[in-house]
Symmetry: D2
Subunit: 208 residues, 4 copies
């Protein structure tokens, strides 16, 4: 066929061999999505478990995923270094994962949110990142966890001040601005509740 | 945060300026998916219109899509050359589109398939292809249409032979093996039905 | 051979079809190189013509180069859109060009600089840039020419002030700081020499 | 300047962090170049040492090169994993190295070839390859050495048969066709000269 030459404009995108392949997904505009669906603040159990359910779907399809780690509106999937799935083509891996995750989100919504209607289909972005060494790989996971912890600490303080501490959102924000983790841990501990009850929203699933 | 260095492993993937950006999606293993959901052969109207509905969702989000063209289990979205959405980052554009398309597929399933249950969440792959000239862009669309037409012609003949011609699938396949388009047009015309009734499954939507 | 697997770590780098391929070379640290070899300021004829000689060597090897444009310590080679040399592999094209240019520079030095010894082998960097449209291609050349003109104008004024106007380099720099092209054209015209004698250092060679 | 937008068509090409960066250079058409300059067969000492001299120039400029390994018309430079030279931009690293190597080849020719004239400037191609692990890196070097050894063995046998064994090139080729390393080692040992005198052309220079 005389038009077939256009196929040559496609570019090869194989991942460098012997690297960990991470596919990270993140909810598009979940600030609004979580508002629209009245997610509990700061952490909504149903949303969290739904995300985990979607990750499970992905892991059932992609047997070379060795760790999946999720928090907030994001999920990271780590493929083993030696995977040859889709010949390591980055677009194929990433698009299939983000697609299945997204369709699963709608498919399983009702199991976790019951009668609360899903107002519109959500979207997630996806990206591929390569990590050459195990140390880099561990540090990636630590990075996402630290991010999770920092957000959680802030959010937990913020909503504690608002919900239990009688602050307005504006006052809460002002009180927390510029504080360090230690301050926030202190705040949680002394005034509001023990840090031991800080919500553990970070979830991981290891399949080594 | 001492782990943040891992962000530097992300790579820039901006699309070359002044090129048409095509994002093509294609159903993962829709051979099986269409069987499992007993799609009408060769072309299932409901499936077709559902695909169009999903494309509409994508086009509502991505205002820079100027043409969307779909057939079978695939859809191509053409972004205008000058788009700056997501700073032209290929992964961002592609992942958001494939994600929204996929979640929409599940979200709108019931509107088109009614009581026929969706047995599992489907997945689509995605890719980005750049076309420098308008001629290349037109040829791309012609390529997908030719592909559509060739498939349609074959499928229509095949199912005509099976459904109206009393052939077994094996016999139909044997009869069509090695035939040219002209043979198949002839076959459709003389023995079975006029080519004028060949199902027009190819659908396009232009927004120039 | 059991080590041959390492070849798979090489990555494909074919240039997008139907684009102009530009390879631009630029002298490494020619600020120092031109000082060390006492190049005439602002424009040394011998250096200029040597650069042109090297470009000629490159063009004799690369028959698909349709324009070469040089100024100062740089040269741009434009390959026609349809070139298939080295299967359009970017690294192959660029490395062969920069290599031949560099070896030619040393090879032909004596023809232009006579007894002035070449103190050490020079180096040039190289890069590949793609331009989808003819307008982009023209604008690229205009860009390099504008750059050339701006530099020439500044340099010519600067050295005129120093050599003919009795300024110290510091005074000349101060006098020119913040001036516009029009000021500099005026300065050249009224005080020193007519702009018509502004050195035409920009050189191009078209082979359309 | 209204043309400056064309700079945005340049693409980022930073090497993945925490990988060994290998730049391999290889002589363009050295089959002919070595004939034209009557290189001794199979291994010409002068050519070999000139290559080493060029590698030295490169290593003096690029302090992050930790190993350089050369054989025949090629040289590989290994940059340490942590190098930040040129911000790890692949084109910059590779082009500067291949350029300096090439200009050095001409610059130092006379020191090794004396009165034998250099008939034309030679060219080398260049490429960048990344290796994530130390094992991959070692295997790369083993690969180039194995290649060296296989070529040397063949060449040494071939030229022994021709020069000492009274064969025509055609006869020598026929006699060696399909032989294994062991056959060739045997041949060298029993009939011509001891394998201990097989020319050690592979050269390496480690700077760990
Ligand atoms: N209330 C509530 N909000 C949540 C929960 N999980 C995530 N979110 C919200 C909080 C954040 O506004 C948002 C996640 O932050 P992102 O940085 O991903 O921003 P967002 O998704 O809005 O924008 P993006 O499209 O990713 O750039 O999702 C939850 O469990 N409860
Ligand atoms: N019965 C029926 N089947 C359809 C219809 N539209 C698409 N299909 C099926 C026919 C093909 O087997 C399949 C599309 O072909 P593909 O080349 O995309 O293969 P498939 O999706 O199975 O594999 P892939 O994962 O894309 O490599 O979908 C339809 O309307 N009716
Ligand atoms: N005197 C004199 N100098 C020249 C001539 N042509 C070029 N140059 C010098 C002036 C500039 O300092 C330098 C070219 O500027 P670049 O921006 O390329 O800087 P340079 O090569 O020093 O650094 P780079 O390694 O390219 O980043 O070469 C000439 O004909 N005469
Ligand atoms: N006589 C002789 N020839 C040599 C010596 N070193 C290299 N050569 C020649 C033998 C080979 O024909 C050639 C290197 O093989 P290559 O595979 O690199 O091929 P060539 O450079 O001809 O083509 P290319 O442009 O790299 O694809 O150089 C030497 O010391 N003596
Ligand atoms: O948390 P991230 O990585 O999504 O950070 P971002 O600031 O949203 O950046 P990006 O535009 O890469 O999604
Ligand atoms: O029709 P396509 O482009 O999907 O063709 P394919 O043979 O499925 O190839 P690919 O592995 O690129 O999806
Ligand atoms: O004139 P250029 O393009 O070389 O500009 P530069 O500021 O030297 O930038 P680069 O680091 O890309 O050579
Ligand atoms: O020995 P190499 O790696 O140069 O092998 P080649 O067969 O010359 O291949 P290439 O076209 O990559 O130089
Ligand atoms: Mg983000
Ligand atoms: Mg988000
Ligand atoms: Mg997020
Ligand atoms: Mg496919
Ligand atoms: Mg499909
Ligand atoms: Mg398909
Ligand atoms: Mg520069
Ligand atoms: Mg320079
Ligand atoms: Mg310059
Ligand atoms: Mg080669
Ligand atoms: Mg060679
Ligand atoms: Mg070689």
């Amino acid at each position: 066929c005389k038009y077939e030459y256009v196929r040559n404009f496609e570019v090869a995108d194989k991942c460098l061999p012997n690297c960990w392949i991470v596919v990270r997904l993140d909810g598009k505009n979940f600030h609004r999505f979580s508002d629209d669906h009245k997610f509990v603040k700061p952490n909504d159990d149903r949303a969290l478990v739904l995300m985990q359910r979607c990750a499970e779907s992905v892991m059932n399809e992609f047997k070379d995923v060795v760790i999946a780690y999720g928090q907030s509106d994001e999920f990271s999937f780590v493929l083993k270094k030696t995977t040859t799935q889709f010949s390591r083509r980055a677009s194929k891996l990433m698009s299939n994962m983000v697609s299945l995750f997204s369709s699963s989100y709608v498919y399983h919504w009702k199991e976790f949110f019951g009668d609360i209607p899903l107002l519109y289909p959500p979207a997630f972005d996806g990206r591929v990142v390569l990590y050459p060494s195990d140390q880099n790989m561990r540090d990636y996971l630590s990075w996402r966890q630290a991010d999770c912890h920092i957000n959680n600490l802030y959010n937990t303080c913020f909503w504690s001040l608002v919900q239990d501490g009688g602050c307005s959102p504006k006052q809460a924000e002002e009180q927390l601005r510029g504080t360090f983790s230690s301050d926030k841990n202190e705040l949680l501990f002394s005034h509001l509740r023990s840090t031991t009850t800080v919500y553990q929203r970070c979830t991981g699933k290891a399949l080594f």
